[in-house]
């Protein structure tokens, strides 16, 4: 007798066991500790936190370990956990202009109040495998006492002394441009309840809050590709990296029963303000426009891609012709979620026997009918040849 179910259960249990073994690898080597992942694979942790919309480095590290380093799987794990958490309310908007800066650069100005702070970046390293630059001797670096040397670029000659009183402040570059009305006003603060794509289905056209949420949890690779396409002429937006800043900001929560806000703690974020050329339209004067990106942890690639795609998606609002994929809101927002995308792509591995059987049945029928028609046509057109054969 054929009992598929029993065998299936066994096979699945065995597969899970194999997964556990594979996950652990050769037991001759020490098992990874979560703190090692959190501390030494911090950028992977940041990506999982961003795309899972869950700021918890420890849980993200756990997800990375459990997923064997498959980050989309890790994002999936963290999201599946997040969805079980109770929700207390909304924090106040974070004030990134008051960020404790670890890195802050602008490609628009050589120098500006606050300066160019390079921070921890791969940008100026040579990608020579095995060379970890000056930090190669990790013990040496780790045991070095005191604070690391300043990574602020030297300013323009006598500007340094001028700016000494301004070192504490690090105003947004976009705000500096705003003083001359060369850049559009930022959207005025809204007291409307922000949308939440984890609780309400996405509708089109989407408001910008919802759109930015979608992009923030969107797949880094997908947004990167779309952002790149705008640079290559498929929805060009003439971008300049107005400012990229990475550091810590405080999260505050206003409990209605208290009537004042209480700090919940600090989070690390990367923020990108893209400044885009705009020639003006019938309703808008020529001025720079904005694209915005914000992600958890340090991820400039994602924050920049997000800002480029955000700007591209403003095409309709700004009266630009919509010709390219990156400008098509429905296309972008419907396909940017990697947990959704991987689910649907990979679901093709699931059994489809029943549907396939139906298709087989149909195809055989169609073939039979086609062959009958074809034979009839051939018979009428070439009777002599058939006769000869």
């Amino acid at each position: 007798m054929y009992v598929a179910v029993k065998g299936g259960e066994k096979a699945i249990a065995a597969a899970h066991e194999q997964l556990s073994r594979a996950r652990r690898g050769d037991r001759a080597f020490a098992e990874l500790e979560l703190a090692q992942i959190r501390e030494q694979l911090a950028l992977a942790v940041a990506r999982v936190m961003s795309e899972a919309s869950l700021y918890d480095a420890e849980l993200a590290a756990l997800a990375i370990k459990q997923s064997r380093g498959d980050l989309i799987e890790a994002i999936f794990l963290a999201r599946a956990y997040r969805t079980t958490l109770p929700r207390f309310g909304e924090s106040l908007p974070i004030a990134t202009e008051r960020m404790t800066i670890k890195r802050r650069i602008s490609a628009c100005f050589k120098d500006m109040p606050g300066g160019q702070v390079l921070g921890p970046t791969f940008d100026y390293t040579h990608r020579l495998l095995g060379e970890m630059g000056k930090a190669a001797d990790e013990e040496n670096v780790a045991s070095k006492p005191g604070v690391p040397a300043s990574c602020k670029m030297p300013g323009v000659a006598h500007l340094e002394s001028l700016a000494s009183d301004a070192t504490a402040s690090c105003p947004r570059v976009a705000k500096l441009l705003g003083n001359e009305a060369l850049i559009e006003e930022p959207p005025s603060p809204s007291h409307a309840r922000p949308g939440d794509i984890t609780r309400e289905p996405l509708g089109f056209p989407a408001e910008r809050d919802v759109r930015l949420q979608s992009l923030a949890r969107g797949d880094e690779g997908f947004l990167l590709g779309l952002a790149y396409s705008t640079q290559r002429g498929f929805g060009r937006t003439h971008p300049f990296a107005g400012e990229i800043r990475f550091g810590n900001v405080e999260v505050e929560f206003e409990a209605p029963e208290l009537g004042f806000s209480v700090p919940l703690g600090e989070i690390e974020v990367t923020e990108c303000d893209m400044v885009n050329q705009f020639r003006g339209s019938a309703n808008a004067p020529p001025q720079f426009t904005r694209g915005y990106g914000l992600v958890f942890g340090q991820s400039e690639r994602k924050a920049m891609s997000m800002a480029l795609v955000d700007r591209a998606l403003r095409a309709r609002e700004l009266g630009e012709e919509i010709t390219a994929p990156a400008q098509d809101e429905e296309f972008v927002l419907s396909h940017s979620d990697n947990v959704q995308a991987t689910g649907f792509v990979e679901h093709l591995k699931l059994p489809h026997y029943v549907d396939f059987q139906a298709e087989l049945f149909l195809l055989r029928q169609l073939r039979r009918e086609w062959e009958e028609r074809h034979a009839a046509v051939t018979a009428t057109q070439q009777p002599s040849r058939e006769a000869a054969e």
């Binding site: 050589k110 940008d123 990608r127 020579l128 323009v156 000659a157 002429g233």
Partner: protein
């Protein structure tokens, strides 16, 4: 595990030969974009991999190299690329335009006029001047083949109709030796006239887009324009706050958050030379 070792100037000899052959074709057909098998470099695409591959293919141990970004020798990427060649090719490096045999640049041409025998290597992000009119390579290649540059004129004329002047400020298209339409890389159009009949050899490398093109010395380079709207460069109505230079390209530097700003030379070497020799500067 021992660290891998690399050839002189990083690239292997076969890659250099391939790039060298592409450079010769590029010089023989001025302004034409020669496809080449661009390699992965130890810096990311978009950071000058095309320029770095050209420099690595032409540089020898006797050359003196200068690297600038935005006109400056001390911007992060310039420092990084200069350090790369000092390390992998052990060449002498300089910040002085006059002392350099090879100048690799991103976004500027030095203010100090280039001399015969010098080579300037431009880092190019999008080599195709028609790309933003027509995103498909098959189409733009045909347009170049047929010398079909009407759409570019129409685009510039639309600017005039709308703004009263051409609104392209950098990567301003040029015609090389009366034939190919060429993107001068995203240099401000201020620098376009420096390309015309330059005594230096100008090489352009686009790594991600896998193209090399060139302008031989003493070659006509004409910025597109119209009889009633001749080509014009940016003019600054002030001088450099550090060296007092006029008629040079200036960077705007913000000095506070109340709108105060100053203007300084984008070409740091030019500025430093003038500051070091004020009497010479007066004569300049």
């Amino acid at each position: 595990m021992s660290a891998p070792s690399y050839n002189f100037a990083y690239l292997d000899e076969q890659t250099k030969r391939m790039i060298r052959r592409a450079i010769l074709k590029a010089i023989a057909v001025p302004g034409y974009q020669v496809p080449f098998a661009s390699r992965e470099m130890p810096m990311p695409y978009g950071w000058g991999t095309g320029g770095v591959q050209i420099t690595a293919s032409i540089i020898g141990p006797k050359d003196v190299l200068k690297v600038i970004d935005q006109g400056s020798d001390d911007t992060t990427n310039a420092v990084s690329i200069r350090a790369f060649f000092a390390k992998v090719a052990s060449v002498a490096v300089t910040t002085r335009t006059r002392e350099a045999d090879i100048i690799q640049t991103r976004h500027r041409i030095p203010e100090t006029p280039l001399a015969e025998g010098q080579i300037i290597v431009f880092q190019v992000p999008i080599p195709e001047p028609l790309r933003f009119l027509e995103p498909r390579e098959t189409e733009t290649r045909l347009m170049h083949a047929l010398e079909d540059y009407g759409p570019m004129h129409i685009k510039l004329y639309e600017d005039i109709a709308r703004h009263g002047h051409i609104a392209t400020t950098y990567a301003y298209p040029v015609r090389v030796a009366g034939r190919y339409l060429m993107d001068p890389s995203p240099t401000p159009k201020f620098d376009n006239p420096k390309m015309h009949i330059s005594p230096a050899l100008q090489l352009f490398g686009a790594g991600r887009e896998k193209r090399i093109y060139a302008i031989p010395p003493n070659t006509e380079v004409v910025s597109l324009d119209f009889e009633d709207h001749p080509f014009e460069v940016q003019r600054f109505d002030r001088t450099c706050a550090l060296c007092g230079a006029a008629g040079v390209y200036l960077d705007e530097v913000l000095t506070d958050d109340k709108g105060a700003r100053m203007f300084v030379c984008s070409d740091t070497d030019h500025c430093e030379c003038r500051q070091a020799a004020p009497r010479l500067a007066e004569g300049a």
